[in-house]
Structures are given as C-alpha cells and as structure tokens.
C-alpha cells in the first residue's frame, strides 16, 4: 500500500474545499510565533533575596483560594518551564502558612518576559481533587459500617468502606489498613477539610485516628475555548503527543510533557485537564495548549 506520505495527501483531500482556506496541515508548533526565545531557567540555589521574597509570595498565592481572579498575566505559555506569576488581588492572609509548598520548580529570573502573545483570558475551573491520608491505625470496617450513618460496606464487592459527607460534598474510601482516599472536592483546601472531617468521624467511632501524610494525588480541571476544533488536524500536526481514536472515544487525548498533564480535547472546544499535583500545572498546561488550539480555528 501507499507510504506514510499519503496520509497527508489523503487528509488534505478531506480537508480541501473546507469553508476556510488553508487549514495549516504542518503548522509550526507555535503558530503565533512571537520570536520569544525560551528563557533560561535559574535553579533555586542561586536565588537572590528579592527573588526569594517573590517566590514566597507566589507560594502563598498558590495556597490561597483565588479562583475568582482573572487571567494569569505576565509570562505566556510558550516556555513551559515558566512559573506563572499571578497578580495579587488580595493581600496574603496574616498567619497563613503555605499548606502546599509548591514543588521546587525552577524559577524564572525576576524581570518578567514581555508577553508578546496575550494569555487566553480563560481560567480552567477545578472539578475534582483526589487526595490520600494515613489515619495511622488499623480499622475495623464492620464497626464503622455499623456505627456510621453515611457509610457503605460490601466486602464482597470492594474491600473498603465508602463514606460520604455533605459539606464539602465528597466521598471517601476507608481501608482497614487505616489509609483513606478522598474524592470529589473542588479545591485543595476543601479536600483537606473533608479529609479531616472523615478522620474526625473515624475518631468519634472509637479509633485513635491521626492525620498523617495528607497528599493531593490528582487534580482535574475543565474549561471551554468557545470555538470548535478540528481534531483530525491536531492529531496530524502533534502526532507525538496526541491520540485520537474516534472508534474508541470522541475526544483527542493529548499527553503534554511539560507539565506532565493529560488533556482531553473535544470537537466542541471543551477541554479537560488531569494528572496535576498542583493547580499551577493545570493553568500552565492550558496556557500551553491554547495557542495550539487557536491555530486550528478557522480564519474566514
């Protein structure tokens, strides 16, 4: 049969005659090429005092719930290693310690890059947080299921108690080893609060529950770019990152390397982002993908 070169010609055949001329088949990775050269990234070892202050501020901001704030300004998504500096809309609360020390991602130099391409103006909304915690003691699941109203336990089906609370609206899987998984929260703080409530329930049921090694394991966000996307085109130009199998699933699975996030991109323009350990990864991943998606927008 034909060589792989014909893949392009056949797809051109299908895309030809489309309403808008020239859907770029082999558009460059950054269709809105700004000439921005990737910033050299400084390691945290050589931070000056000023940078250290800025870093701490950013950590506190990352720990804060500030979903109401608008687009992350400053650095664009073109250089994935950049840590987005969020505009300060509220002063950091006195006495709050950063609960989730940001990972030691390499920081940019102080002078922010001039944003040659504007940021998307769209902020992904967090939809689900999965966290784990160790209650630090063995648990008798039968007792828990008997004494708690909000517990479900079918040992034949699954070896854990399924417990739910109303506020924050979440579900927990509680194992006899004392380990617990908490799902359904809409923010890191809510996940932590919910996990603490489950731990308190277990305590009140008579177990010496502690709250050890609380960790956010996964964060899921979603948003809408508000225009339809030619997934067949995207899989052609970004083959090494994309998997588009309409026989299996209507969306395109995009595995971004930096940050390590999986995006589900749909023809409607809706995007789901998952695999993040901190919310900055979700925002960063979206800012990276947005110019790529815009490149597939029809230009009549």
């Amino acid at each position: 049969m034909e060589s792989t070169g014909s893949v392009v010609s056949v797809s051109c055949f299908l895309l030809q005659g489309a309403m808008t001329p020239g859907i770029p088949i082999f558009s460059p990775m950054m269709p809105y090429g700004t000439g921005l050269t990737p910033q050299p990234v400084q390691s945290t070892n050589s931070l000056s005092i000023l940078e250290e202050q800025q870093r701490q501020q950013q950590q506190q901001q990352a720990a804060q719930q500030s979903t109401s704030q608008q687009a992350t300004q400053g650095t664009s998504g073109q250089t994935p290693q950049l840590f987005h500096s969020q505009t300060l809309t509220t002063a950091p609360l006195p006495g709050t310690t950063p609960l989730y020390p940001s990972p030691m991602t390499p920081m940019t130099p102080i002078t922010p890059a001039t944003p040659a391409s504007e940021s998307s103006g769209i902020v992904p909304q967090l939809q689900n947080i999965v966290s784990t915690v160790n209650l630090g003691c063995k648990l008798d699941l039968k007792t828990i299921a008997l004494r708690a109203r909000n517990a479900e336990y079918n040992p034949k089906r699954f070896a854990a108690v399924i417990m739910r609370i109303r506020e924050p609206r979440t579900t927990a899987l509680i194992f006899s080893s004392g380990k617990m998984v908490c799902t359904g929260a809409k923010s890191e703080e809510q996940s932590r609060l919910a996990a603490r409530k489950y731990a308190r329930v277990v305590q009140k049921l008579g177990f010496p529950a502690k709250f050890l090694d609380f960790k956010i394991q996964n964060m899921v966000g979603s948003c809408d770019v508000k225009f339809p996307i030619r997934l067949e085109g995207l899989v052609l130009t970004h083959q090494q990152f994309s998997s588009y199998e309409p026989e299996l699933f209507p969306g395109l699975i995009y595995r971004m390397i930096k940050p390590r996030i999986v995006l589900l991109i749909f023809v409607s323009g809706k995007v789901v982002l998952t695999g993040a350990k901190v919310r900055a990864e979700i925002y960063e991943a979206f800012e990276n993908i947005y110019p790529i998606l815009k490149g597939f927008r029809k230009t009549t």
């Binding site: 049969m1 034909e2 060589s3 792989t4 014909s6 893949v7 056949v10 055949f13 299908l14 895309l15 005659g17 489309a18 309403m19 719930q65 979903t67 109401s68 609360l93 709050t96 609960l99 909304q125 967090l126 939809q127 008997l146 004494r147 109203r149 909000n150 609370i165 924050p168 923010s187 890191e188 703080e189 809510q190 932590r192 609060l193 603490r196 308190r200 329930v201 009140k204 049921l205 225009f227 339809p228 996307i229 997934l231 067949e232 899989v235 052609l236 083959q239 199998e245 309409p246 026989e247 299996l248 209507p250 969306g251 699975i253 595995r255 023809v267 409607s268 323009g269 029809k298 009549t300």
Partner: protein, 394 residues
Amino acid sequence: SLRDTVPRGDCETVCPNTPCFSEVAYSQSTGQKEQLSRCLQRGIRRVQDLCKVLQLPTVFEETAVSYVQRALQHPSFHLVSLEKKELLGGCCVFVTCRQHNWPLTMGTICSLLYAKQELFASVYLSLQKELELSVPALSLADLVKTHLNSFRLFQHAADIPAPFVENKEKVVARTMQIVELASETWLVTGRHPVPIVTAAAFLSWQSLQPATRLACTLARFCKLARVDLPPPAHLRLKELLEILLRMASQLAWLRVFNLDKKTVVKHIGDLLQHRIFLLKSAFCPEDEEEQQCAAAPGEASPGSAAGAVQGGGCPSAGKRRPLLPPCLVNPRKRLRTAAPSASDSAVTGEEPISDGEIEQYLRGPEEIRAFRKAQACAAAPSTLPTPCLATCCI
C-alpha cells in the same frame, strides 16, 4: 543437514507408522523456538495468522512482530494479564496497518480476535503510550473503498431487484464526495467512522437512481447489501440530509421545488458539484451569531425568517446558521456546576470542625440496636418468628 534443506515449520514426522517414534513438529524437534518465551511465541503466531487472514504485505508482519517483541520486553507489559497479552499480537498488527495507511478498523480486528472492544482499547492505548508509537488517524477515504468492497449491490443476484444494482465505481466516487462533505461540515470529528460511510453510501446509491430507490429505507438497503446497520447511521443520515437541504436552499432553481429530505436526494449530484459555493452561502462563519448572519449574497428576504423550519421543510433562503459541530448547534442542556462562590474560595482547609457536625453522621445507640436487628432479620428470615419481622424491620 536437514535444517538447511527442509522448509521450516512444514515438515512433519518421518515414520508415522513405527510405534517407537511419535509425531513431532519440525520446529519443536529442532528447538527453533526454545529461546523465545511462550508469550512471545503466541504473539508472533497471532501476528502471522492475522496477516494471512487480512492478506497483508510481508513487511507488515515484520513490523508487527518487532512491536510484539518490544512490548513484551517492556516492564509494564510483564505483569499484564494473560487475557490482555492475548490481544497484544492483534494490537501490533492494528498499529502497523494504521501506520501504513491500511484502513483496518478496530471493530474488524476485535471480531477477528473475538475480543471485547474495551479490553482491546486498553491494550492498544497502553501499547501506544509505552512504546511511544505515533499512530496516524484512520483515513476515511481508504475506509470508504474497503468498506464498500463488502457491499453486495454491485452484481446481479436473485434477491436483489434489478434497479437496485449499481456500478461500483460510481457509488465509491460519490460516497467519497459525501464523506468529504460530512467532514467539512463537522459531522465526522469525534464520531465513529463506519456509520458515516454507511449513511453516505446509502445516499450516494439512492441518488444515482432516485426514481426506483427513494422508497428504499436505510435498513432495507443494508439488508440487501448484506452489511451491518450500525445504530448511529440513522443519525448521520439525518444530519447529512439537513446539510444538503440547507445547501439546496441556496440553489435558485431548486428553491421553487420546496424540497424535503426525500426529494433533495434527487439533486445530490448538483449539490455536490457546487458544494464549495453552496457551503459558503448556506452557512456563515462559526464565530458569527445566528442573528447576525447576513442574507445569502444577492438575496434580500427579510420577511422569510418565519419560513425557517426545524427539519423536514426547506430552510428559508435568507437565514444562515453558523457551520458548527452538531453538539454545538443543539447543545444538550447540562447542569453546569456553578463557579465557586466567594465563600467557597475562602476555605483554608484548617477550619475548626464542630462536634455537632460530625455527630450528625453517627448512629445513636438505639439506632445501632435497630440496625443490628434489621441486619439479623435480613440475614436469616426463616429462623425468626413472623411477629419479630413486624417490629424490627422498618
């Protein structure tokens, strides 16, 4: 030696009648496969069988076998269930076909392997991820050709009415054009490919001799052609007809006919011929709101807005809708979770938790007793006297 002169694999035993010798395959007796693990052997065997059945070029077999070897050496595949390992050979053949633009669908390979599609899908996705394979999207144009090969309407047969038999090349050519039209109008992205081809083939066949074929339904067409009718094909057909009707509304000499979804089929040839122009006139760019859509060039019909009909009738000449995927044209009403409120945002995770809040989730002692009784009743209803059931079971 025997090894050099005898073709491998085909040599059976030497003395079938002598009791002291037993039948042994050449490959076994020579230990040809000794070094390969059993999984790998089975995987290679599966690849060879599939390549034979599908009549694939030799180079496909070599590539697929190399993928099987790489996969089984990969740590993430060591611990995969045997059930999944069974499918590995098929997955590698599937990937190879796609990389060579050979239009093999997942449905086909799953039926050849007697595999559940979900299981095949998970093995395929793992394979793609772990070996970092880039797999080009299925080429619809090639799929049209191979899928139509299995249709039975291109030769006369006893159970097919004579007017239903059609020239294969004509059907293939027109189906390709209709599939291309579907692709341009967002009917293909994110959807199963085969139902689109089936619907397009039906329309193309109908339109080549509408007089005798308009009365034939999609279901009957598939039955006569001896192909499966995939459930989404009806929806794809409906969507295609809507597009065609809108296009027809832009052709001056067709507007007088007041076409509907049956009669528009007669004019598919014309519509396809002028499709570029018609698409431009019938649809406005996707970012324009429907209200802002200008009337079609040269046609001023301000009063015709009332004439626009949902399906069935011909849409009014002046009104254009944006060219969007169906999911955006008819958005399903979905409960959108509200954006987090200010109070949600203020949560720190370290708030104090009141006893009262936790106690609402705990059963009181009487409740526990009642629950225990109910559990016992449910577990062994026959051993307890009936009055007990009345008191303890709520």
